[in-house]
Structure formats: structure tokens, C-alpha cells
């Protein structure tokens, strides 16, 4: 059966995925909006940087993050000089790593959704007296519902399955930074297959259910539009 640390690993994982998704939706919105609308030459390099986690081995990302967290680096130094605990081997560090690691999974669906929205609805709203903020709330958000849902699910699910980055910067401390995927790895290493089954199977089924729900909603919205 499940041990105490398995339960805490589950909660840490859920908390990490939820926090990361929330931060990414907030941070990702302006980035995706800028990418969808800008004519700047910086667009391609920024798009490439955001897509990097899609192609890089997570360990590469984790390695550089670990270096950045060390007190000798500008980031780690700044954190230390503010009297804050080190980012390495901490939950905050995991969140920061996950935000970077899952960024493309949130930004890209949002960007696609903003592009398909087009300029017209916003221009109409502007002529009708809506300010920029108002236009975003009253036009962009409701018309990008599906984009936000996809972005949230992909960001959440991708953080759930994170392994390499967490291993490099989290240190696998049970009860603090040990997440589900690493707990499974530990069980397998210790030949505790039954615990591994519980965790792995649970993750498999719940992931399937979440995706099923999303595709089901997608289909319903699509059917509503065509009917």
C-alpha cells in the first residue's frame, strides 16, 4: 500500500502543478499576446527561446538552473543578499524550474488562440468605446476560452510528468521536494513494485480522465458551433 511519503509526494506534485499552471497563465498571457500581434524582429528569437524546453533534455535545463541558483551566480546572489533561503532544493526553486520547463505548453495554445481571434473583434470593441483592458476582459477572454482550457491542461499535465529538471534542482527530499514521478523511480529502484504500481497506475488513469474530459468538451463546443 501507499506510504506516508507517497501521499505527501502526491500533494507536492499537485501543488507544484497547480501553482505552475496558475503562474504560467498569468505570465503567459502577455507573452502570447505580444507574440500573436507584434511585427518586431525580436519575435522569432523569443519564440525559439520559449520553445527550447520542447527539444532540450530536461537535465540540460536543470543543470543550468542549478548553476543559476548557486550563491555565486547573479540570481542566487541576489536571493541570498535579500536574506531569502536558497532556491536550490526548495519548493520555490521547483516552481521556478517548472514555469520555465512548461512555458511552451501554455504560451503556444494561447498564442494560436489569439492569432485565430484576429484583429477585427478588438477593433470593433475599440470603436464602441472599450479601453484596452476592457477589450481583453469582454472580448479576448470569452473568445479564447478553449485556448485557455487547453493551455491550463497541457501546462498542468506536463508539470505533473516532470522528472529530469526536478531531479537536478530539487534534490529528491521526501516530504519537501520529492514529487510523484521521482517517488515512482525510487520505488522501482528499491524493487517495491506494488507501490510503484499504485502511483504509476493512478497517474495513468487520472491523466487519461483529464484528457478525455478536455477532448469531450472540445467536441461539444465544436458540435454547438456547427449545429
Amino acid at each position: 500500500m501507499l506510504q506516508h511519503y507517497d501521499i505527501t509526494a502526491l500533494f507536492i506534485t499537485l501543488r507544484l502543478a497547480a501553482t505552475t499552471t496558475l503562474i504560467l497563465l498569468v505570465v503567459g498571457t502577455p507573452i502570447a499576446w505580444w507574440l500573436a500581434n507584434t511585427r518586431s524582429r525580436l519575435r522569432s528569437p523569443i519564440e525559439a527561446i520559449i520553445a527550447l524546453p520542447l527539444v532540450l533534455p530536461p537535465t540540460v535545463l536543470g543543470f543550468y538552473l542549478l548553476l543559476a541558483f548557486s550563491p555565486d551566480s547573479p540570481l542566487g546572489g541576489a536571493v541570498a543578499s535579500l536574506g531569502l533561503p536558497s532556491l536550490a532544493f526548495s519548493f520555490t526553486g521547483l516552481v521556478l524550474g517548472s514555469v520555465i520547463y512548461s512555458m511552451p505548453f501554455v504560451v503556444q495554445p494561447l498564442q494560436n488562440s489569439f492569432v485565430s481571434l484576429g484583429k477585427r473583434p478588438l477593433e470593433v470593441a475599440a470603436t464602441l468605446g472599450a479601453s484596452i483592458f476592457d477589450r481583453f476582459i469582454s472580448v479576448v477572454l470569452p473568445l479564447s476560452k478553449m485556448g485557455y482550457l487547453t493551455a491550463a491542461v497541457l501546462g498542468f499535465a506536463h508539470t505533473l510528468g516532470e522528472f529530469g529538471v526536478v531531479l537536478m534542482i530539487g534534490g529528491n527530499i521526501p516530504g519537501e521536494t520529492q514529487v510523484l514521478s521521482i517517488a515512482i523511480y525510487d520505488h522501482v529502484e528499491a524493487l517495491e513494485y506494488s507501490q510503484a504500481h499504485w502511483l504509476a497506475g493512478g497517474l495513468l488513469i487520472s491523466s487519461f480522465l483529464v484528457l478525455l474530459m478536455i477532448y469531450g468538451m472540445n467536441r461539444r463546443i465544436h458540435l454547438m458551433k456547427t449545429s
Binding site: R120, E123, T127, L128, G129, A130, S131, P142, L143, K225
Partner: protein, 360 residues
């Protein structure tokens, strides 16, 4: 007054406009596609960030060389060529979108009355995706007006509609736009829409304004691109003076000058009361010239006229002649050969044969 002086430089296109129009009535912006009509309209609305220059609407500076009012502060109503209702809102919510955002609503348009005029009372709870093209444009017009604009811009609002809905909507616009107390810019490439709706006319060609003024005056000038084209026409204003002749309506256009136009029972104008103001469109090709009054002709309208001007340029063997018929200007397009055969010259007294005139 509305004073427009806007410049916009694109890689292969330059908009360079300077003109003024009165602060009431419909100003048609007319020109072939690609001449910059839509771009001009968007620049006036403030949707073209690269447009420079100045724009003054009834004493209010919307744009000067130093600063520009953002779109949302201009109070401009815009009806696009493609219907553009918000798909996530019902018709009623669409209608009220702009009105809800007014700081102080003065309600110059009564909501219920406007809904009835536009004929959209049955649609209020429906979503835009279940509406026809004509319905969408009527709702879009209502939505723009309820935001109480200082200037209404319409970008070829009829061009995406089928013939039947076009006719319905243009009839609605004919009556409705004239009653509005705000200036209206109406972009079109249809001469029929110009004839039926426009009080003023701005001709646009490759980004330049080639003529601007009251519709009848602009149409009567011989050197505009429109008069040189095959579709040159004149517009006369008049009122219905008699319905006694069977199958005909008499339109009095000037003192004692009656034009007769065929009128079938099915025609809307047939049922207009006497004295009702109407417009006539006469194509330049349908006006021929005789030196003496022809006797026993099948042509209904033969009027004494004075040649005011003959175009010097002759393209494809024809000449354009501006006739003065009791103070009204009517264009006639005849062959170069006829001009020489008849020895036509300015100030000559002739007879104009108008083969057909259509009520618009």
C-alpha cells in the same frame, strides 16, 4: 465641418488625402477597389497607427501632427464590410455593448424605436451565427448608433449581401441615414449606391482625392475619373408631380421641367404620394443630342438644353458633354464623329434626348 488631411505611406501604396465635407449628410467615398477607400476610413477611425496628418470633426481634434486621440476616445461608429458582431454575445448584448460603455448616455436613439426601424425585434435573443448577412449588418448598424457616435463610418456594408437583402437594406438606409443628425462616410464602389444615398461625393483614385463636393457637382465635372469611365452618370433631384399618365410617373426636377419615367405597379415609387422627393439617375450614354426638336419620337424626355462644356480629351472615339437643362447639369456621352458632324460647341442651344432615366 470635417477636415481631413491624412497621409499614409505603405511600401507599394500611398494614401494622400486632403478634403473637407459638411457636418451633416452622407458623404460617399467612391473609387475602384484598391484605391484606398477602406484604408482612408480606417485612418479616420484611428485604426491605422501609421497614418499621419490632421483630422478635425466638428471642431474636435481627433488627430494633429503632434498627437492623436485613441480609437476608443473618438466616438466613431464603424460598420465593416464583413459583418462583425461579437460571436459570444446575443444580438441584444451586441446592441448594448457600446451604449453600456458611455460615460453619459444622452440616448438620441430610442432603443425600442431603433429596433423596430431596423426590423430586428425577433432576433434579440439569438446568437450572431444564426443570422443572415442582411440581419447581421442591421444589428451592426444599430450597435454602432447606440454608442452615440459623432461620426458614422460604413465600409461597403452591402457588398457581401445577395441582391434581395441588398435592396431591402438600401431602401432602409435611404430613409434612415437622412434622418440622422451626424455625418456619415459611406465607402462604396457601386454607382447605384452613390446615386441613391450620397449628398456629397469624394472620389478616390490610387490613394489621391481627385474630386470632392456635392454629389451633383462632382458628377457633372468632365475631368474626373468617374466621368471618363463607361459608367459616367448624372443625378437629378426632383419631386413627384403627377401620376396621371398610365404607366408613367412625372418628376418635376426644375421649374416647369418634367421628366417622365416608366413606373410599373410593383414599383415602390408608384405608391409614393405627390410631392415626394426622389432622385433620378441618368447614364451619360443614354443622353443624345439633336439640333432640332425631333417630332414624333418614341423617346419620352426631350428637353431644350445649352451646351455648357465639351471635353477636350477624346478616349475611344467618344466625347463627354455637359448640358445645362434649366440650371441642372446632365452629362451626355456621344461619338467624336457626331460632335464634328453637328458642329457642336459651347453655349449652343440644342435638344437633349434622354433615352432612359431611372428612379433610384
Amino acid at each position: 465641418m470635417i477636415d481631413v488631411e491624412l497621409l499614409l505611406q505603405r511600401s507599394e501604396f500611398q494614401l494622400n488625402t486632403k478634403f473637407s465635407v459638411p457636418s451633416r449628410g452622407v458623404t460617399a467615398v467612391f473609387g475602384p477597389s484598391g484605391c484606398g477607400k477602406t484604408t482612408l476610413l480606417r485612418a479616420i477611425a484611428g485604426l491605422e497607427p501609421d497614418a499621419v496628418g490632421s483630422l478635425e470633426v466638428n471642431g474636435q481634434h481627433w488627430q494633429t501632427p503632434h498627437e492623436r486621440l485613441p480609437v476608443e476616445a473618438r466616438r466613431v461608429g464603424l460598420v465593416f464590410q464583413h459583418p462583425s458582431l461579437f460571436p459570444h454575445l446575443t444580438v441584444e448584448e451586441n446592441l448594448l455593448y457600446g451604449r453600456k460603455r458611455l460615460e453619459k448616455a444622452t440616448n438620441p436613439y430610442d432603443l425600442k424605436e431603433l429596433i423596430l426601424i431596423l426590423g430586428i425585434e425577433e432576433l434579440l435573443n439569438r446568437h450572431p451565427d444564426s443570422l443572415s448577412g442582411g440581419e447581421l449588418q442591421r444589428v451592426a448598424l444599430g450597435r454602432a448608433l447606440l454608442a452615440e457616435p459623432k461620426l458614422l463610418l460604413m465600409d461597403e456594408p452591402l457588398s457581401m449581401l445577395d441582391q434581395a437583402s441588398r435592396e431591402t437594406l438600401i431602401q432602409l438606409l435611404e430613409n434612415f441615414l437622412q434622418q440622422l443628425d451626424i455625418p456619415i462616410f459611406y465607402v462604396t464602389h457601386s454607382s447605384e449606391e452613390v446615386a441613391r444615398l450620397a449628398d456629397n461625393l469624394v472620389l478616390l483614385s490610387r490613394g489621391d482625392v481627385t474630386a470632392c463636393g456635392p454629389t451633383a457637382t462632382v458628377l457633372a465635372s468632365l475631368d474626373s475619373e468617374l466621368s471618363c469611365s463607361e459608367s459616367a452618370f448624372s443625378v437629378l433631384q426632383g419631386e413627384i408631380s403627377s401620376k396621371e399618365l398610365s404607366g408613367l410617373l412625372c418628376i418635376e426636377c426644375s421649374d416647369g421641367i418634367d421628366l417622365k419615367v416608366p413606373a410599373s405597379e410593383s414599383m415602390v415609387a408608384k405608391h409614393y404620394p405627390l410631392g415626394r422627393a426622389v432622385r433620378l439617375r441618368i447614364r451619360a450614354r443614354d443622353v443624345s443630342i439633336c439640333l432640332e426638336r425631333p417630332q414624333q419620337s418614341s423617346i419620352l424626355n426631350i428637353l431644350p438644353a445649352v451646351i455648357a462644356e465639351i471635353s477636350t480629351s477624346s478616349d475611344s472615339g467618344s466625347r463627354l458633354i455637359r448640358l445645362d437643362i434649366a440650371g441642372m447639369h446632365v452629362l451626355s456621352k456621344i461619338s467624336e464623329y457626331s460632335v464634328q458632324q453637328l458642329g457642336l460647341h459651347a453655349k449652343q442651344v440644342v435638344f437633349a434626348q434622354i433615352k432612359s432615366a431611372s428612379l433610384v
